[in-house]
């Protein structure tokens, strides 16, 4: 098809390339908007932290499905706790703490809810102030005054000593996330060595349960 070749648009000379510009503030922003097939824009919507309870069939791959949804669609996971909670029905309960705009949060609920093995999704934060607890194991290594101070703080936080030697303590602490954060930051200068946290377990207040 010869006419195609002769009629072909000539590539623009190289000097037509826009001169280099100072690096844009947001590296995702196009240099010359809208130089994209997509609409690239910065969004600054208000975000909220929500605790969701997800009741799922405890079948192989179900956790991968839930996590894959979050990573695939770019949602945040601040904390994730999973365990089978009803053995007879093979139901697991996933408690996930996430942060997003109200629109994203409703997307997360709906996207979770339409997954085949998901029985129910409950936004505990939207239903009211849920009961949230987390368990942390905190290893503090030290001697002398630091060691005494660590023990004293632990007592004030009602942390339990679950392991110890002459050089270290392992404290077990339960409570809300902010309490655990606070405990850890206080322990930091006192020889904080290692922390393990379970992530949040949460229930709605009041007498009713979730019907999975």
């Amino acid at each position: 098809m010869k006419r195609a070749r002769t009629a072909a648009a000539k590539p623009a000379p190289s000097h037509a390339v826009p001169a280099a510009k100072p690096a844009p503030r947001h590296h995702n922003r196009a240099v010359l908007p809208p130089a994209s097939a997509y609409f690239i824009e910065d969004r600054h919507d208000r975000t909220e932290r929500h605790v969701l309870s997800v009741i799922v069939d405890n079948e192989p791959g179900v956790l991968a499905r839930v996590i894959g949804l979050f990573s695939g669609r770019g949602y945040n996971i601040d904390s994730l706790t999973v365990s089978e909670t009803e053995h007879a029905k093979h139901l697991s309960r996933i408690t996930v703490v996430t942060t997003g705009t109200p629109m994203v949060l409703s997307q997360i609920r709906n996207q979770l809810d339409r997954m085949v093995p998901v029985h129910a999704v409950i936004d505990l934060t939207a239903e009211g102030n849920p009961l949230e607890r987390e368990l942390a194991l905190v290893k503090v290594t030290g001697e002398g005054n630091d060691r005494v101070e660590a023990l004293r703080i632990a007592d004030a936080f009602r942390a339990e000593v679950v392991g110890a030697s002459t050089e270290h303590f392992i404290f077990q602490l339960t409570g809300r996330t902010d309490k655990i954060e606070q405990f850890i930051s206080i322990m930091a200068p006192l020889g904080l060595t290692e922390v393990c946290r379970t992530g949040i377990a949460a229930l709605g207040r009041g007498p009713e349960g979730l019907d999975g």
Partner: protein
């Protein structure tokens, strides 16, 4: 599902399976074939390999389920999609482990994006080898998890029939979509008890199909009071079935309101009707996009406010109340905030809406409607699809117009690849009925149309099936011509050959300083000779004068045809909403010859064009 049992009884005497009934013992491979037959499956698209040999050994020993051998697993997936889209039934694909499964990822994702019900059965290495990096092993359920609506790895032969029936249930219920069942080879050999489809119901998956009556009343109220209304419909209407399209037509005609549709929804409302505005969106019509922008009520039905539809979201139909009918709650408020969501199946919701409408007989503001139509007629008068005819070169738009003229009275199904030709097909081919238009909308899969045409032709052996193709796309799955020849499927591949990846080039012209980076299709094959090599018929048209005769010949031939339609190389697809623009800032073809063209491209745009 409901006719499964009947099918089992009917097929039992002539099948070769000894025990086709519920409760019988059989091998896993027998169960697969039995379950397919019980689900009413007549055709399976597939490609054999080591990990599915036991199933293939069963397939050849029976005649209830016909197997169509493709040339690449991707072809099996798209063929199943075309089959499903044109019949409303579930499409079935059967492939082996490893590369067979990974080659299915594209069609599965395509079906997920466009909500097409597909059941894909993959073979897997024996259970004891899973995780050992065995030959042709891959983590199929892991890889296809985000590409399917749901998937299963079968670990016990006694779960197999239940899982297969569940798979069909999940694929077709709620928002349809692709599912995958991964069956290790030892499970295919193992013996177990078969469960019939009537005994299987998914534990929890019960999508809501009935709309909330209060919301439906509120919707009727909004619709009745609207002064500048529009119906915006999508693929969900097609997926809901022919009854949904019939109900949609009834409601739209009762109201007298204008209607537009997404790419996926074409055919739900007849293009010949006066109330039809044409397709909307990035390459939609001037009138459809202006109506969307200026309306005061938008009734979205089975459409998902995709970014190719909305343009700039914060400038999308700023002054309208929006009703959104969709079976998938996650489609609500995903891209655009709506005022009145109705969760349910399109047909069921429309049926209830019509009942309310007929009972209440609301009074429409006829004066406002008349003024609205006057405005619409003004937009229509822009004749936005106009193009400059050429006496020597076939314009691609003209090619589609002539194709439509030659096939409009026939029993015809159209598939497409992806690119400029796809948009021209959507603009210039007039669809009057649902399920006649098969295209890759969401994923935009080049290479979809040829295998999809194979699937459509299998489902409709006596019909005319045409793939409106581009020269670049069609080469991606060209090998399926061999499938068409083997199975006597007289598909017509109508290639708008401009020797470019036209849509890529169009974007490079608009946005990348006309630097045509690797979008020129050099060294194309001679499509006529290629057709002959495949044992089908090649036809070439180079001038407008020879087009009609060539198309007539293509229709006449009862063999697969590769039609090399040489079109103007540099034609571009208009109208177009440039990226980041609103619906009322469309770019019209230069032929529109109006000051609006100049105004549509702002200073920034001019730098780019």
């Amino acid at each position: 599902m409901k006719n499964g049992r009947k099918a089992a009884r009917k097929d039992a005497p002539n099948g070769n399976n000894q025990s086709p009934k519920h409760g019988s013992e059989m091998t896993g491979a027998e169960m697969v074939v039995q379950a397919l037959a019980d689900q009413g499956v007549e055709h399976v698209f597939g490609y054999p390999g080591g990990a599915v040999l036991p199933i293939y050994d069963e397939i050849i020993q029976q005649d209830r389920v016909e197997h169509i051998l493709v040339r690449h697993e991707q072809g099996a997936g798209h063929a199943a999609e075309g089959y499903a889209r044109s019949t409303g039934k579930v499409g079935v694909a059967l492939v082996t482990s490893g590369p067979g499964a990974t080659n299915m990822v594209t069609p599965l994702t395509d079906a997920l994006m466009d909500s097409i019900p597909i059941v894909c059965i993959t073979g897997q290495v024996p259970t004891h080898l899973i995780g050992n990096d065995a030959f042709q092993e891959c983590d199929t359920v892991g890889i296809t998890r985000p590409a399917t609506k749901h998937n299963w790895l079968v670990r016990d032969v006694n779960d197999l029939s239940r899982i297969l029936h569940e798979a069909f249930y999940v694929a077709r219920h709620g928002r349809p979509g692709p599912v995958l069942v991964d069956i290790p080879k030892d499970i295919q050999f193992a013996r177990g008890i078969y469960t019939g489809p009537n005994h299987v119901e998914h534990k929890t998956y019960r999508p809501r199909t009935k709309g909330d009556p209060q919301a439906i009343r509120a919707a009727i109220d909004l619709i009745a009071k609207a002064k500048r209304p529009v119906f915006y419909t999508g693929g969900g209407v097609i997926n809901s079935g022919p009854r949904a399209a019939a109900l949609l037509r009834e409601l739209v005609r009762l109201t007298g309101y204008p209607i537009t549709s997404t790419l996926m929804g074409l055919g739900a409302y007849p293009a010949a009707d006066r109330q039809w505005l044409g397709m909307l969106g990035m390459h939609g019509t001037w009138e459809a996009n202006h109506v969307m922008h200026d309306c005061d009520l938008m009734v979205a039905i089975g459409a998902r406010f995709d970014d190719r539809i909305t343009g700039r979201v914060n400038a999308f139909s700023p002054g309208s109340k929006k009703i959104h009918i969709d079976i998938d709650p996650s489609s609500i408020n995903k891209n655009v905030r709506v005022d009145l969501p109705i969760i349910g199946d399109v047909a069921e919701v429309l049926e209830d809406m019509l009942l309310v409408w007929k009972a209440e007989k609301p009074k429409i503001d006829q004066a406002a409607l008349k003024a609205w139509w006057k405005q619409i007629d003004h937009w229509r008068a822009r004749n936005c699809l106009a193009y400059r005819q050429n006496r020597d070169v076939i314009m691609p738009q003209y090619a589609i117009e002539r194709l439509y003229a030659a096939t409009r009275d026939k029993d015809v199904y159209i598939t497409t690849e992806v690119g400029q030709h796809q948009m021209w097909a959507a603009q210039f081919y007039q669809f009057q009925e649902p399920n006649r238009w098969m295209t890759s909308g969401g994923l935009g899969t080049m290479g979809y149309g040829l295998p999809a045409a194979v699937g459509v032709q299998v489902a409709h052996p006596g019909s005319l099936v045409i793939d409106i193709a581009g020269d670049a796309s069609v080469l991606m799955t060209m090998q399926e011509m061999s499938t068409a020849v083997q199975h006597n499927l007289p598909i017509k591949i109508f290639i708008l050959n401009n020797q470019y990846m036209g849509m890529v080039r169009q974007w490079q012209q608009l946005l990348h300083g006309n630097r045509l980076s690797h979008s020129y299709m050099d060294s194309l094959p001679d499509f006529v000779k290629l057709a002959e090599a495949y044992g089908c018929v090649g036809i070439r048209a180079e001038r407008p004068g020879e087009l009609d005769d060539a198309i007539a010949e293509m229709i006449e031939v009862n063999k697969p045809v590769l039609f090399d339609c040489r079109v103007a190389a540099l034609a571009n697809c208009f109208p177009m909403i440039p990226s980041g623009k609103a619906h009322n800032e469309m770019l019209l073809p230069e032929e529109a010859d109006d000051e609006a063209v100049a105004n549509a491209i702002d200073a920034r745009g001019k730098v780019l064009v």
